[in-house]
């Protein structure tokens, strides 16, 4: 999968999830929040953090390390996006911001795994 494909899919999926979960908020803000969050976190995940994950050449030897790093980096992305949502939507508390971020990221991660 290329960064271009991942970027397009992440924006589409996460923005759609945000639109579903934040129905009472201004739609323009919700869409812009989706674009902003994905545009900040995905390049960092893709170009900075992903190269730190061991390659699949030694798949079984590094399986646990790979899983740990993927989860750790995904959680970092969730935290960063929750911070963005919390700051854009003043009515959101931290717990709800984390929930929304977690659902959006999980959706893009798992849908990405299945369709790409």
């Amino acid at each position: 999968m290329s960064f271009a494909t991942a970027y397009i899919f992440t924006i589409l999926i996460e923005t759609l999830v945000l639109l579903l979960l934040l129905r009472n908020e201004d739609r323009r803000l919700v869409m812009l929040a989706g674009i902003l969050a994905s545009s900040i976190t995905l390049p960092i995940l893709w170009f900075v953090l992903s190269p730190l994950i061991p390659t699949q050449d030694f798949f079984f030897e590094t399986l646990f390390l790979r899983i740990f790093l993927i989860l750790f980096f995904e959680l970092a992305a969730v935290a960063a996006e929750a911070f963005i949502y919390r700051n854009i939507f003043s009515q959101l508390n931290w717990k709800r911001a984390f929930e929304i971020s977690l659902i959006a990221n999980a959706a893009s991660f798992f849908i990405g795994l299945f369709i790409l």
Binding site: A4, T5, A33, L36, S39, P43
Partner: protein, 180 residues
């Protein structure tokens, strides 16, 4: 409402008269290219791309003469056509080799470049093809397998989108504050 449904059903029934997938051979162009690397090994022969359609019943017509190691566009390639490599040479004897069928079902928005090596047995008059390379390019001419080539433009786009959306968010929030 009932009248609209009847009209829709009538129009839908008309669609059965249309041969939706039966495009006239040669009218739907798919962007595919083929080259043969070793035509120079057979100096006494000339090679052509030939097209056979359903109507031709396996009687292909010569389309274009081929040069050695140069990509030739298959402008008439479509799934209802059969494409042949035709060889004509000494004693006006000809031989045919059918290009693989799957080759002609490629996407209309990407281009496929296939390289073959030709093997001709003059005694048996047997012409065969060996596929040595296959390359798909997207609409921008970038090889599709080479996914990294789009990374930098999309990274720039991501930075631009991040900055643009942040600016617009601030503007919207500012407007809301002013309205309050």
């Amino acid at each position: 409402m009932a009248r609209h449904i009847l009209l829709a059903l009538f129009l839908f029934s008309l669609s059965t008269l249309a041969f939706s997938d039966m495009i006239e051979p040669g009218t739907h162009q798919v962007s595919q290219y083929v080259r043969f690397t070793n035509l120079a090994d057979y100096p006494n022969y000339a090679f052509y791309i030939a097209v056979g359609t359903v109507q031709d019943m396996g009687n292909p017509t010569v389309h274009a003469q081929l040069s050695n190691n140069e990509y030739a566009p298959l402008e008439r390639g479509y799934k209802f056509n059969s494409m042949y490599l035709m060889l004509k040479g000494q004693g006006n004897k000809s031989a045919l080799a059918l290009l693989p069928y799957e080759f002609f079902t490629g996407s209309s928005i990407s281009s496929r470049y296939i390289t073959y090596k030709v093997l001709y047995d003059a005694q048996a008059n047997n012409l065969t093809l060996l596929e040595t390379e296959s390359l798909d390019k997207n609409f921008a001419g970038i090889p599709i397998d080479d996914t990294s080539s789009l990374d930098i433009p999309f990274l720039a786009l991501a930075i631009l989108f991040a900055a643009g959306s942040a600016y617009l968010i601030l503007q919207i929030k500012k407007d809301k504050k002013v309205k309050k």
